[in-house]
């Protein structure tokens, strides 16, 4: 694994994960819940975290890996600080969300599913956030941006970039 993506889990994160595992162990079918919590703690599910879960729950790593790769919500790779998710549900699609995605890819210089080198942005597509009245929509973190046009994309991204520079 390359240096940039090397696992950098802290003892504090590990303690949190252990607590989740301990409290869920007796619930039948708890694996998905544990994976969801683990992704909340680490931001993604690298093999190291999956191994801890397998050992903690007393199941095989292949079973954990199988579930983690089955569901689209789980990510084995780190995501950007600002997670952009473009809705490609039908209502958004017929209103041109593919063009929004293309504009974002152009603006950030990465493809859907990737993360920018500085770790600030990652782009994913999702299937319907249920805000069809505002189609086409995208989410950045928990913020929903609706009634988008490709021209609006740069301005929105710039807002996040400026906020980052202000922090430094």
């Amino acid at each position: 694994m390359d240096k940039q993506n090397a696992f950098r889990g802290t003892a504090e994160q590990e303690a949190k994960l252990k607590a989740v595992i301990d409290e869920s162990r007796t619930t039948p079918g708890c694996l998905m819940h544990v994976l969801q919590e683990a992704q909340g703690i680490y931001g993604y599910l690298p093999i190291e975290v999956q191994t801890m879960i397998a050992e903690g729950l007393g199941i095989s790593l292949s079973e954990v890996f199988g579930v983690a790769t089955f569901y689209s919500q789980f990510s084995l790779k780190p995501k950007g600080k600002h997670r952009i998710s473009v809705c490609l549900g039908t209502a958004c699609y017929v209103k041109g969300s593919d063009k929004i995605l293309a504009e974002l890819e152009k603006e950030l210089g990465i493809k859907c599913g990737e993360c920018t080198e500085d770790g600030l942005f990652s782009i994913d597509s999702c299937r319907c956030v249920g805000a069809c009245g505002l189609a086409p929509v995208m989410m950045i973190g928990d913020e929903v941006y609706g009634k988008l046009t490709p021209e609006m994309v740069k301005g929105i991204i710039d807002k996040y970039k400026e906020a980052e520079y202000d922090n430094h």
Binding site: Q36, V67, Y71, Q73, G89, G130, G133, L134, G146
Partner: protein, 630 residues
């Protein structure tokens, strides 16, 4: 909680809720009794929250404080339905329906309308409620609401979903009380059977029969599940019910538990619906605290409790056996049926699984009787159906209509027609499993059987309206991309079939198709329908088959003429500038991202087709309509 306490809550809050259901004089009289001069309802559903309705509430609280108004109640509700005009705010007892509110607008309304002796601010109202002569009509009389009949959505946009007392006062848990005190489990199952209610998740299986099978199954442990894994893109009916009236689902599941002899329920809900999940959590906690979930419910001796399980983004988990496998913590893959879940379901025990909207119909059926319910709708599809109306339609939003309402009524009257003067081309129902209803079938009544007869299906209720700018080949390709991506891979017909279908469609949209491909598509589709393990694979070819049935000429145009009539498929388009119309303003050339346009100022420009990436920016920029796309 005892039944007496339940009654006390109803008495205390009844008028408060009633004010929101009646308007004008009666409402004003009632409002006087509630202690609140006015009530302001603000939508806190996902649509309006995304257009910043929380800021509306904040500003409202601030303004009322500044104006020293303390006899107005602010209520954060679920969806009112007209999502395109959010954030929405309704003031009772007048029933003034304010749309597209901003904090600035809220300030104006507070100062001019909410103060004592204030007047409705007409220009901020939803303009559908203002007649040409300037009179204000109740919003229930507007075309969007007039033809609707709200049974499943009866409390959405009426109660505060995070307040169990409001839910109780609005009628939730009355059916549970009736069932536990006056009905036997057999009575309940028989009532459901007689109602003719069919599963609202898409397949339309009679709910009562499901319950009867599960009741007849022997076993010490049985489960009741709620399918809230609404993965059909463009559908948000279930989300709206959970966000607007979560208690109606908890109540209905408890009733089913009593009917079939189960003490444990699971709600499997998409993690992509954070507001719905949070409201469900609050509702369950409140119901437990009141003793409406847990041990000895309402002193009846019956125990029932509900757990939430979060999905993690897999469309196939909407299939019943896959959903149960997922609750068990595994990869959400379906398994062959039989055995059906009613015999061997979750954790190998008899289980019933119903969709959110199906659950939302249980209370009214128990309270008003099966005869009442089956009198609504058509003989084989009783009751109403909720649709999430989206796409190229003026009134995007949530609508509930009696079964048998025609597509024309939904599109032209309720939906307000197609925006920008475009022509209606087709309605897509049933999402990736469904098909399209073309313009020539616009008078088809919407019910399970009529839709199947024309090659579509009811589906869970997503209804996407398409106009003349939509390419039907492209839209089938879009759905196949979806199903190919979401196929779980367990069975070959679906795993390989969706991929091959997608390849064939891609070939056609890229202008490399041959007429023979259409035959191949039909053959492959038939095999997939017959031999896939679950409904995902069995129904994946539907979008292609139904578009081929009604829009075959578009497929042929892509293949033989190598053109896309709707002007969507990029590979088949070319751009050129009409020299007679071009004024040589240079705007297109300056904005072309690949510098494909050349020409001197005030002389007609030319597009270099070898450089053009067909982005369409020149069309958008040209003020003289000189750029043509063919």
């Amino acid at each position: 909680m005892t039944i007496t306490e339940l009654d006390a809550i109803r008495k205390r809050k009844e008028d408060l809720i009633k004010v929101r259901r009646v308007v004008k004089e009666e409402g004003e009289k009632l409002a006087a009794k509630t202690g609140y001069r006015k009530q302001v309802l603000v939508c806190g559903g996902t649509g309006c929250t995304s257009s910043h309705s929380m800021q509306v509430i904040e500003q409202l609280e601030k303004s009322l404080k500044e104006l020293k108004i303390n006899d107005i109640l602010i209520v954060k509700t679920g969806c009112f339905g007209l999502c395109a005009l959010g954030p929405i705010m309704i003031v009772y007892p007048e029933g003034a329906f304010y749309a597209q509110m901003t904090p600035e607008h809220v300030k104006t309304v507070a100062e001019k309308h909410l103060v004592k002796g204030g007047e409705i601010v007409k220009e901020l109202l939803y303009q559908g409620t203002v007649t040409k002569s300037g009179d204000i009509i109740p919003f229930s009389e507007t075309p969007f609401y007039k033809k609707q009949m709200r049974i499943a959505l009866r409390n959405c946009g009426v109660v505060a979903p995070e307040d169990i007392e409001e839910a109780i006062a609005a009628g939730d848990y009355a059916a549970l009380e009736k069932v536990l005190t006056k009905m036997t489990p057999d009575d309940v199952v028989n009532e459901m059977l007689a109602s003719g209610l069919r599963g609202r998740g898409g397949a339309g299986f009679p709910t009562g029969r499901k319950w009867a099978f599960a009741k007849a199954s022997q076993g010490t442990e049985k489960y009741v599940c709620c399918n809230a894994d609404e993965g059909d893109p463009g559908a948000f009916m279930d989300r709206s019910v959970l966000e607007g009236d979560p208690h109606c689902v908890l109540e209905a599941m408890t009733i089913a538990g009593y009917a079939i002899g189960s003490h444990h329920g699971f709600i499997y809900v998409r993690a992509e619906y954070p507001i719905a999940v949070q409201r469900l959590r609050i509702a369950i906690a409140q119901a437990r605290e009141c003793g409406l979930l847990g041990k000895n419910i309402l002193g009846s001796g019956f125990d029932f409790d509900i757990e939430i399980r979060l999905g993690a983004g897999a469309f196939v988990c909407g299939e019943e056996t896959a959903l149960m496998t997922s609750i068990e913590g595994h990869r959400g893959e379906p398994r062959p049926r039989p055995p059906f879940p009613a015999v061997k379901g979750l954790f190998g025990k008899p289980t019933i699984l119903n969709n959110v909207e199906t659950w939302a119909n249980v209370n009214p059926i128990i309270m008003n009787g099966a005869a009442w319910f089956s009198s609504i709708g058509t003989p084989t599809s009783s009751g109403t159906k909720v649709f999430a109306l989206g796409g190229k339609i003026t009134n995007v939003g949530l609508v509930e209509v009696p079964m048998g309402t025609t597509l024309r009524e939904i599109v032209e009257e309720i939906g307000g027609g197609i925006p920008n003067g475009k022509k209606f081309k087709a309605a897509q129902t049933g999402g990736p499993s469904g098909g399209c209803i073309p313009a020539e079938c616009i008078d088809t009544p919407i019910d399970y059987d009529s839709l199947l007869a024309i090659g579509s299906m009811m589906g869970s209720g997503g209804m996407i309206i398409l106009d003349e700018d939509t390419c039907m080949v492209d839209i089938s390709k879009f759905y196949l991309e979806f199903t190919a991506d979401e196929s779980c891979g367990k069975c070959t017909p679906c795993r390989i079939g969706t991929k091959r279908l997608l390849q064939l469609l891609t070939k056609i949209t890229e202008g490399k198709g041959e007429m023979e491909d259409l035959v191949k598509i039909e053959e492959l589709a038939t095999h997939m329908k017959q031999s896939s393990l679950c409904a995902l694979g069995q129904s994946a070819p539907n979008p292609v088959l139904s578009t081929m049935r009604y829009f075959r000429d578009e497929y042929v145009a892509h293949i033989e003429k190598k053109t896309c009539p709707a002007g969507v498929c990029k590979a088949l388009l070319s751009y050129y500038i009409d020299p007679d119309k071009c004024k040589g303003c240079t705007l297109c050339a300056r904005n072309c991202p690949v510098k494909a346009i050349s020409g001197a100022i005030k002389t007609p420009h030319i597009i270099d087709k070898t450089k053009c990436v067909k982005c369409g920016l020149c069309i958008a920029n040209c003020k003289f309509n000189a750029v043509v796309r063919k």
